[in-house]
């Protein structure tokens, strides 16, 4: 912290480097001082926390994806991180870096949003715990104010909860930047006919990764059946998603895919 204070502007934090070095080579970042944060204690540690998880910001995404602990407690997260990038990228990319880079298409974000994760930010004024949903403020922008993202807390989820992650990419290869990504985590009641809790998160269809709150509201306490699923998917596409057109896809295609993928995810979860 004190080092960063001393250097003030012109400092970039180096974790996995998979985004940073590309930006440097592109000329988007110049003459900066890099502070390597990988070896700060605890940033590279991953541990269970009650029935949840505490991920150090500098843990590699592939390490998380392959961890038996994560596969057991949060298969949704493991599934998402397995396709965050190639093996080589995943062996360097960090969970904190992926979040702090704040791409609207960040592959770790939808799953973590659906799991209602929070991030711990440490700065000159002290520490704060911020729900991930409030962490992103725009494309490539976060609420970090001269702070370091040190930990990601994933709270325990009800036993009956199940999640699914879809990443729609141009090739289906893990290194693809997604056109649309969808993570859904849903908790059915004892009868399995009503969802007591549904979290739907979308990537690459808004200035930041988002929760599809309109869609979720339409599902809570409702019977899990075709009609409700369709309505919710439509709301996610029309009310929650605010996609743009870019080299990977048009806004209208993205909207259409949100509808299809959210519906599929809900259907898949309702069948289990």
């Amino acid at each position: 912290m004190s080092l960063m204070e001393k250097l003030d502007g012109g400092v970039s934090l180096l974790a996995g480097g998979t985004d940073l070095l590309v930006a440097m080579k592109d000329g988007r970042l110049r003459h900066r001082t890099l502070v390597d944060i990988k070896h700060i204690s605890n940033l590279g540690a991953m541990r269970p926390e009650d029935a949840g998880l505490c991920l150090g910001a500098a843990v590699n995404t592939r390490t998380i994806a392959r961890s038996p602990l994560v596969k057991e407690r949060f298969p949704l997260l493991s599934q998402a991180l397995a396709v965050l990038g190639s093996m080589q990228i995943g062996n360097r990319a960090t969970i904190g870096g992926n979040l702090a880079n704040a791409s609207p298409a960040a592959d770790s974000a939808p799953a973590l949003l659906a799991l209602e994760a929070s991030v711990k930010l440490v700065g000159p004024q002290g520490e704060r715990l911020v729900p991930l949903e409030n962490f992103f403020s725009g494309p490539g922008k976060t609420v970090l104010e001269r702070e370091l993202l040190t930990e990601i807390h994933v709270p325990s989820a009800p036993d009956q909860g199940r999640g699914v992650f879809y990443k729609l990419g141009p090739r289906g290869a893990p290194e693809d930047i997604c056109i649309v990504s969808v993570a859904v985590f849903a908790v059915p009641d004892a009868s399995k006919r009503i969802w007591t809790d549904v979290r739907i998160a979308l990537g690459a269809v808004a200035p930041t990764p988002i929760r599809a709150r309109n869609a979720e509201k339409a599902l809570l306490g409702q019977l899990i059946e075709g009609r409700t699923v369709e309505d919710a998917a439509r709301l996610a596409a029309e009310k929650d998603a605010r996609p743009i057109s870019d080299i990977r896809g048009s806004a209208s295609y993205r909207r259409a895919m949100v509808k299809i993928l959210v519906a599929r995810a809900l259907e898949q979860l309702s069948e289990r």
Binding site: L21, M87, Q88, I89, P174, E175
Partner: protein, 160 residues
């Protein structure tokens, strides 16, 4: 301002003490300063895998690792996996299965495959595809590469 960092890194089993520039990548260090040109440069942005080396047991794109970050690490390049002219099983399998054409993706591909099989000797076809997805090849269409790696996996597991 000409800052350099002194690093100590084990490359192919040999400990080296080197002075590196802060913006020098591991790829630059290996290829242009240490003359280990087996590691190739295909894109320099982490998209093609031609620069893959193994650092502390993990396959990484050396173009996205700063030399200074490899301080204290053990690095294996393609030059380091055969011993005394005897080929590593993957190298032999690539030859036998016709998995080498122009050869440019080959060092990175072999190292990526090696790191996978070292981690997981039971890797199945799906695992192999996933692990090698970050290594682009334009010549072979991947079929013979996947076969070669699967064959070595099978041998390691004691199969024929």
């Amino acid at each position: 301002m000409n800052i350099t960092h002194n690093i100590r890194v084990i490359i192919n089993g040999q400990t080296r003490e080197i002075s590196v520039a802060p913006n020098e990548t591991l790829q630059d260090l290996l290829r242009y300063r240490l003359g280990l040109v087996g590691t190739k440069s295909g894109c320099e942005t982490g998209d093609c895998g031609a620069c893959t080396v193994i650092v502390d047991g993990k396959a990484v794109n050396s173009c996205l690792v700063l030399a200074v970050e490899s301080n204290g690490s053990s690095v294996t390049t393609i030059e380091g996996i055969s011993s005394n002219g005897e080929l590593h099983p993957l190298q032999q399998a690539f030859i036998d299965h016709g998995a080498v054409q122009c050869g440019f993706c080959t060092p990175g591909m072999i190292l990526a495959a090696k790191s996978l099989l070292d981690e997981d000797p039971n890797a199945n076809e799906k695992d192999i595809r996933l692990a090698l997805a970050g290594n682009l090849c334009r010549c072979t269409g991947y079929v013979s590469i996947l076969k070669a790696v699967a064959a070595v996996g099978k041998t390691l597991r004691g199969g024929k």
